[in-house]
């Protein structure tokens, strides 16, 4: 596994004049939807093709101002705000850059590189989310071709990220003729580099999550786990609700980056496997048989994880207005978490505006119950779990990373 993170030389094509030309390009990527978990894949991919990180521009976090300034009049008839807001991101990349971008890259992510893949039926993206670029681009083509007018190449390939063998072909077709002198071999290498980069990032964040959990276990302090889709990390979509709770004194974990170390998972799920409830530590068929959607699968798995770790005394569910993918999961997720005695609160129907008054009331409500019940929840959950929790036994001794949980 360690070899994954070895630096590789960037190949022998550094000297080709086309690469120098490419290095002058600026690529804009809307920071939306599943880009929130595949960011590093794209950065690694472009870096390998000779376009460094400082020439890859992500749009800012979603905001109503962004929508008003850059997206209004280009919107779509879609009740899904995470999709609808993309008009603003496109607009910002097209009109709002000091230095113009040359390419607007907006991947249609068909399937996701999920850590549960192989243990679930499939790892697909929500179809509405996958097709969002098609939907949004029409707002920039309807009255006139804004991209052409601004001299921007619009590249929006369909990518099946769960299938790394397909991806080079998909991206080569998309970028051939757009990136000077592009060769298939290069793209294959760049895709590999992208996956490695993403894996390195994920591994680092999982290790930070582990250190947070170890600190909680050592200090007997509670923490909060967020169960949400990746783009709820966007301050304009999830409205930083979890950060408001953090300000009340609780470290925050996100299910996407829950540690997946075998020792920990074996302690959490081993009894289930031995008793025949689950086939593996990543199995969710006991709670979610139709496991086709990657983000949904991860939310369900996250609920199982939250239910098993004593120091996660509260899980927060964030969902956007009228999310059809989330709706059938409300009850199972809630029940999985609550059966373990863990507190569960959901913020549903999030939309463009942060309902500041209502969020404040809810956060204060949650903080009240967290403060009142956390100790009892930790004790009850700890009593239900087997002895020998690796979080307590192995003090943090991992390399890399900068996060500390020992700030108090």
């Amino acid at each position: 596994m360690a070899r994954w993170f070895d630096r590789r030389p960037s190949g022998g094509h550094g000297q080709r004049p086309e690469r120098a030309e490419r290095a002058k390009l600026r690529i804009g990527i809307p920071k939306v939807l599943n880009v929130w978990t595949t960011h590093q894949l794209w950065l690694g991919f472009f870096a390998s093709l000779g376009i460094p990180g400082n020439r890859v521009v992500f749009s800012s976090d979603t905001s109503e101002e962004q929508g008003r300034e850059f997206g209004s009049g280009r919107g779509t008839v879609d009740c899904c705000y995470p999709v609808k807001c993309i008009s603003g991101h496109y607009g910002e990349l097209v009109f709002g850059q000091k230095r113009k971008i040359d390419i607007l890259f907006s991947p249609m992510i068909y399937s996701m590189p999920s850590f549960l893949h192989g243990h679930v039926a499939d790892s697909l993206a929500c179809p509405r989310v996958m097709a969002a670029p098609e939907n949004i681009k029409s707002g920039f083509l309807k009255e006139k071709d804004v991209f052409a007018e601004q001299g921007i190449r619009y590249v929006a390939p369909l990518v099946s990220l769960v299938d790394p063998l397909q991806v080079p072909k998909q991206l080569f077709i998309a970028f051939e003729g757009v990136l000077p002198g592009l060769r298939f071999e290069e793209v294959r290498e760049a895709v590999d580099q992208g996956y490695r980069t993403l894996a390195a990032f994920d591994r680092e964040l999982r290790s930070r999550s582990r250190r947070i959990l170890e600190w909680c276990a050592r200090e007997q302090r509670p923490c909060v786990m967020v169960l949400a889709r990746p783009y709820h990390m966007d301050a304009g979509i999830g409205h930083e609700i979890e950060a408001d709770l953090q300000a009340h004194g609780y470290p925050i974990l996100w299910m996407q980056y829950f540690p997946t170390d075998p020792d920990l998972l074996d302690w959490m799920f081993g009894p289930d496997i031995r008793e025949g409830y689950a086939k593996s530590v990543f199995d969710i068929s006991d709670v979610w048989p139709s496991s086709y959607s990657a983000n949904t699968n991860e939310i369900l798995w996250g609920a199982k994880a939250a239910a098993r770790v004593p120091w996660v005394t509260c899980a927060i569910r964030l969902t956007s207005y009228e999310c059809g993918m989330d709706q059938p999961t409300f009850t199972p997720v809630q029940q999985i978490v609550e059966r373990s005695g863990t507190l569960f609160f959901s913020f549903q129907e999030l939309d463009s505006t942060k309902p500041a008054g209502s969020v404040k009331i809810r956060v204060e409500t949650i903080a009240h119950y967290l403060q009142r019940s956390s100790r009892a929840v930790m004790e009850r959950k700890a009593a239900a779990m087997p002895a020998g929790c690796p979080l307590l036994e192995k003090p943090a001794c991992r390399a890399g990373g900068t996060a500390t949980a020992d700030g108090d």
């Binding site: 870096a47 990180g53 967020v226 809810r362 119950y369």
Partner: protein, 719 residues
């Protein structure tokens, strides 16, 4: 042959008669909810003045009342939007955007060139009063502005104030508050125009840019000069933002037209549509059947269409009353004068309430004062009343409601309890395994879903007035019936009209309509109570699945003192959840204050001594109030004129950085803001608070924050 185009709208009827391609007659009049009577009056006049003849001439109808009236006289129906579009295409081939605002609806039409022809995109809403003519008129009536004056009132050059654009009833309340705050009516009306244009653009453009040329149609757009100015202001600045290319030398404002006959476009469209119809379609059949309907038909329909009454034949009303009235709470007697007492205060937006509990959690006293807008004076009045009723030493004080953070230090409260926790604590104290709390107050609706002894979900609706108690009260007042007698009146009804769930403003006009059909006050009041649960749970609370919420429902809040409402709630809930247990909080209106007091007892049991300042100290609280240029809220364009109320308080740190500096030993309370943001003085305070929050956050990690700050910079392996 004459062709009649008649537009039967929600507030007026507009009609044109065309003879040989020329308009020979036209009129519009308000029908005051008597659509059929006004239609027959128009047709009769046409017969007399123009010799409109049955069996020869044609009648085409459009508008919300067309479906009823048209067929009775042989008329052909034309969908409203189709009618307007037909007229616009004929008369204004270059128009790209049309806004038609009616009394109770609004429409937008976008015309786009597409190859040889044109495509149309049409949006309409008629479910909510926000953005319609009624929205303006309702408030103008309240402010007693005559129609002619309203029509001439300007928008340009007026300072604008925050008015709820979504709900006509709240807009009226906002206007009232502004008026009390000394805002001139001209500015209030200009703010209403602003709200209407905003609401139309916000809900009915759906991603299309309203491009020139623009046509404004419908009564409100025609009559209100200020509304036209508001459109011009918004659209021209939109065009500037979007860099729309206008014809050379064109003044953008000229690209927005309001034709003199803007009222008649739907009626004119009918005539256009008539031209393309086969012979004999829409052949006028005279007024006999319409006359019959007015005299008899509608009353027969009343008898058929009514819903069953609030009290059905085999319902046991006295049993119901006994079961639910028994749960009214009584006050306990104080054991002795030196037993410690605990005070819970609920500072709401319209009232302040307090209860006094004994150490055994028994309720000793309950007091209530209406809010006068100055939180310090409200607090003084409340504590004066408490003092008169509670004699024991105060061992704990807890606050809830909006005033909990504002007044906590000033009164020396031991804890501030968030409203949800206060309500849940109080409900769970009385009913330990409650699942759902439904609190219907005067101006808001709160639904709290409890699980594991916590508030797991929470719905607050204060944006839309639908379902709240003030509306019920308003109707009762109009009938001259005291609120205490509401239930008995409503229970007398043997049948009742079916009112539609939804917007309170439209409910009001629906009531007028039902009244006209012959429904009595009792019957209408019964049906209003019956529609309330729908508005509370479904329209305002957005909670479709009551079953999933639980089985034990606690009803509280002042509106549930009305037994007619309780009866309707019980019927509604048990229809959805047959095994539901419905409980009335014994202290319906004071639940929040009781919850706070219970939390004060809990804190006291945990060994915390009270920091209550004492009645004397509160009585002599020294404060000064400032309203000036510097207290105006600058967080948004609404610019609320706030008051800074500075209270003398030992140990307070003052605000040396403020534009209205405050020395040490003084504490500031901000009032007169219309949203929570206004509680923050200005950017200086915002910075101070932000820094404090960031420090708190830095102490403990958040994985999401790490993704936000690190994932999008450069490839991880590169660093």
């Amino acid at each position: 042959m004459r062709i009649v185009g008649m537009d039967v709208g929600s507030t007026t009827i507009k009609a044109v008669v065309v003879e040989d391609g020329r308009v020979s007659w036209r009129d519009y009049q308000r029908h005051n909810t008597r659509q059929a009577e006004k239609a027959i009056e128009f047709l009769t006049r046409m017969e007399q003045e123009l010799s409109l003849a049955a069996g020869r001439d044609l009648v085409f109808f459009t508008g919300s009342g067309a479906g009823l009236i048209g067929p009775l006289v042989g008329g052909k129906l034309v969908q409203e939007v189709v009618a307007v579009a037909a007229a616009v295409e004929k008369l204004h081939p270059h128009v790209r955007f049309v806004s038609e605002i009616g009394g109770e609806d609004m429409k937008t039409l976008f015309f786009n060139e597409s190859g040889a022809g044109k495509t149309k995109q049409v949006y309409m809403q008629s479910a909510c009063s926000g953005g319609t003519g009624t929205f303006i008129e309702k408030t103008a009536r309240k402010l007693q502005i005559p129609a002619e004056q309203l029509a001439a009132m300007p928008y340009d050059g007026m300072s604008l104030h925050k008015v709820s654009s979504k709900c006509g009833i709240f807009a009226e309340a906002d206007a009232n508050t502004l008026l009390k705050g000394g805002v001139p009516v001209e500015e209030i009306i200009a703010s209403l125009f602003e709200a209407v244009v905003y609401q139309n653009l916000a809900t009915l453009t759906k991603g299309n840019t309203p491009l020139p040329q623009v046509l404004l149609l419908g009564g409100p757009n025609l009559f209100f000069k200020g509304l036209q100015q508001a459109w011009r202001q918004h659209l021209t600045s939109l065009w500037e933002d979007r860099k729309c290319i206008l014809p050379a030398d064109a003044d953008p404002a000229d690209m927005i037209q309001v034709p003199d006959d803007a009222l008649y476009y739907a009626a004119l469209g009918c005539i256009e549509v008539a031209g393309g119809e086969a012979d004999g379609v829409g052949l006028y059949q005279g007024t006999e059947r319409l006359r019959w309907w007015i005299d008899e038909g509608q009353h027969q329909e009343k008898a058929k269409s009514g819903a069953k009454a609030l009290v059905r034949e085999n319902d046991d009303l006295s049993g119901f009353k006994a079961a639910f009235a028994a749960s009214r709470g009584e006050l306990a007697a104080l054991a002795s004068c030196d037993s410690p007492v605990f005070i819970g205060c609920d500072f709401g937006s319209t009232t302040a309430k307090a209860v006094v509990l004994g150490a055994d959690r028994e309720i000793l006293a309950s007091v209530y004062v209406p809010s006068k807008g100055n939180p310090i004076e409200d607090a003084k009045a409340l504590f004066r009343d408490i003092r008169a009723k509670a004699r024991g030493p105060v061992a704990g004080l807890a606050l809830t409601g909006y005033g909990k953070d504002l007044l906590r230090d000033i009164l020396g409260a031991d804890i501030g309890v968030v409203e949800t926790v206060a309500h849940a604590t109080s409900a769970l104290h009385v009913f330990p395994d409650a699942d759902v709390i439904c609190d219907v107050g005067g101006t808001d609706v709160k639904i709290m879903i409890l699980r594991q002894g916590t508030v797991s979900d929470f719905r607050l609706n204060s944006q839309c007035s639908s379902g709240n108690g003030a509306f019920l009260q308003g109707v009762a007042e109009r009938y001259g019936i005291a609120l205490e007698d509401y239930a008995d009146k409503a229970f007398q009804a043997k049948a009742m009209p079916g009112l539609a769930m939804g917007c309170g403003v439209f409910l009001q006009s629906d009531i007028v309509n039902q009244q006209r059909k012959g429904w009595s006050a009792e019957e209408i009041m019964a049906s209003l109570a019956a529609v309330l649960p729908l508005n509370v749970w479904i329209y305002a609370g957005q909670l479709q699945n009551l079953r999933a919420a639980g089985r034990r429902f606690v009803l509280q809040g002042g509106t549930h003192r009305n037994m007619a409402v309780v009866k309707a709630q019980v019927d509604f809930i048990t229809a959805k959840v047959p095994d539901a247990e419905i409980l009335i909080h014994p202290y319906s209106g004071e639940a929040g204050a009781i919850g706070a007091a219970l939390c004060a007892i809990e804190a006291h049991d945990a060994g915390r001594p009270s920091s209550f300042r004492g009645f004397d100290a509160i009585e002599v609280l020294d404060y000064r109030s400032t309203t000036s240029e510097h207290t105006i809220c600058r967080w948004c364009p609404v610019n609320c004129k706030r008051a800074f109320i500075d209270v003398k308080l030992d140990g307070a740190s003052g605000r040396p950085w403020s534009k209205v500096p405050l020395e040490e030993g003084w504490e500031r309370v901000i009032s007169g803001n219309s949203c929570p943001k206004g509680l923050m003085e200005d950017a200086n305070e915002m910075r101070a608070v932000k820094t404090r929050m960031e420090e708190q956050r830095r102490e403990l990690p958040n994985i999401g924050e790490m993704v936000r700050s690190e994932a999008f910079r450069r490839a991880w392996a590169e660093t």
